[in-house]
C-alpha cells in the first residue's frame, strides 16, 4: 500500500468503482468481499512486481468482464435458495433459453404460479360476487371453477358456498408451494449440470472406480 502514489490510488479507485457498479445483482456482503479481495490483489501485485497500478490493472482484465464472470451463474445459484417467484421465474427463464428441460420447467413455473394466483383471486372475489364465483355444476357434472362474467343460466348452479374461500386458499398455497419446490429442485440440479457441462464432466465418467476399461 505504501508504494501506491496518488495517481495509482485514483486508478485503483476507478477500477473498483466500475467493478462495484457492474457487480449489480450480487448481494452486498459478497460484493464488498470481492472488492476487498481485488483491492488486496492490486496492492500485493504492485508491491511484489514493482509495477504501476495501470499495469497491474491491465493484467486483471476489464472490470466489466470480471464482474460478468462473477455474475455468471450467480442468479441461478441465488434463486435455488430463494422463495421469491420473481427471482425463480427469472432464473428459469434464463435456463429456458438454453435447454429444452429448462423451457419445460419455465412453462411449468408459469402455469403453477398463474394457477395459484388465480385461486387466490377467486377466493378473494367470492365474498363480493357470491353467486358468480365458485364451483359450478350441471347435472352432477363439473361445469366450471372460478368466476363467471354473468350469472350462469338456471340448471347450472354453484355448490361450494363459502367453503370455496378456505378451499381455494388451500389449493392456492399448495400449488404455489409445490411450484416453488419443483423449481428450486430443478435449479439446484441445473447448477450441478452446468458445472459438469462447463468443465471436466466428459472426462469424469471414465475415472469411476467401477469402470471396466482396460
Amino acid at each position: 500500500m505504501n508504494t501506491a502514489t496518488t495517481s495509482d490510488q485514483e486508478q485503483i479507485e476507478q477500477f473498483l468503482t466500475t467493478l462495484r457498479a457492474s457487480l449489480g445483482p450480487i448481494a452486498l456482503p459478497e460484493r464488498e468481499e470481492i472488492l476487498r479481495e481485488i483491492d488486496a490483489h492490486i496492492h500485493d501485485s504492485m508491491e511484489l512486481t514493482g509495477q504501476s497500478a495501470a499495469t497491474v490493472i491491465a493484467k486483471l482484465g476489464s472490470p466489466q468482464q470480471l464482474a460478468a464472470d462473477y455474475r455468471d451463474g450467480a442468479l441461478v445459484r441465488a434463486a435455488s435458495y430463494s422463495f421469491s417467484p420473481m427471482l425463480l421465474l427469472r432464473a428459469t427463464l434464463r435456463i429456458a433459453t438454453k435447454t429444452l428441460s429448462g423451457f419445460i420447467v419455465f412453462l411449468f413455473a408459469l402455469t403453477g404460479y398463474l394457477t395459484g394466483i388465480s385461486f387466490l383471486i377467486t377466493a378473494f372475489l367470492k365474498p363480493f360476487f357470491p353467486d358468480r364465483t365458485g364451483v359450478f355444476v350441471l347435472d352432477h357434472h363439473l361445469y366450471r371453477i372460478g368466476i363467471q362474467n354473468t350469472l350462469p343460466p338456471v340448471p347450472i348452479h354453484e355448490v361450494a358456498g363459502f367453503w370455496f374461500v378456505p378451499a381455494s386458499l388451500v389449493i392456492a398455497s399448495a400449488t404455489l408451494v409445490l411450484t416453488t419446490v419443483v423449481i428450486r429442485h430443478f435449479l439446484r440440479l441445473s447448477t450441478t449440470v452446468q458445472q459438469k457441462l462447463d468443465g471436466y464432466h466428459p472426462t469424469f465418467r471414465t475415472s469411476q472406480p467401477s469402470s471396466p476399461s482396460r
Binding site: M1, N2, E33, I34, R36, E37, I38, D39, A40, H41, H43, D44, S45, E47, L48, K59, L60, G61, Q65, L66, D69, Y70, D72, G73, R77, K98, Q195, D198, G199, Y200, P202, T203, F204, R205, T206, S207
Partner: protein
C-alpha cells in the same frame, strides 16, 4: 469435407472451444495449486503461471475461486499480513481433495487416450507422404 454441427450450443469456433477447454482445466489447476496448503489469490496466480499457461487475464481466477467456494470444494479465511492489509487465503476442503483426486485421474485417462489419437496430426509431413 462437411462440417458436422453438434445439436448443442455452437461449438464450431476453435477459439471458443479452446476457451471452454481452458476454463475446465483452470478449475482443476486452481484446486491442484492448493494441494500442498493454503494460498491467497496472487500466490495461486503465480503458481499457475509458473507451472502452466492457463492464466490469461489474472482476474479470471477470482470468480473461479468464488464458485469453487460456493461448491464447498474450498474454504477461505482472511489473514492479517505484514503488507498492512489482510489477504484472503483459500484451502481445499475434504470434499475438494476427493473431487481433485477424481479430476486428476480422469484428466490422465482422458489425455493419454487423446494423445494417441492426435499424435499423427502433430506430425503432418509424415501423414502427407
Amino acid at each position: 469435407m462437411a462440417i458436422k454441427r453438434s445439436p448443442g450450443p455452437p461449438a464450431d469456433q476453435p477459439d471458443r472451444w479452446e476457451a471452454q477447454l481452458r476454463k475446465g482445466a483452470l478449475e482443476m489447476a486452481t484446486l491442484a495449486s492448493l494441494w500442498r496448503g493454503r494460498l491467497y489469490g496472487l500466490e495461486i496466480i503465480r503458481t499457475l503461471e509458473a507451472q502452466s499457461r492457463l492464466v490469461l487475464a489474472e482476474g479470471t481466477i477470482y470468480p473461479i475461486l468464488s464458485r469453487l467456494k460456493d461448491e464447498a470444494l474450498l474454504t477461505s479465511e482472511w489473514v492479517e499480513a505484514d503488507a498492512g492489509h489482510p489477504r484472503k487465503y483459500y484451502s481445499l476442503t475434504n470434499e475438494g481433495r476427493d473431487r481433485l483426486r477424481l479430476m486428476a485421474a480422469a484428466w490422465v485417462d482422458f489425455s493419454n487416450g487423446l494423445d494417441q489419437l492426435i499424435q499423427p496430426i502433430l506430425q503432418p509431413e509424415e501423414v502427407l507422404q
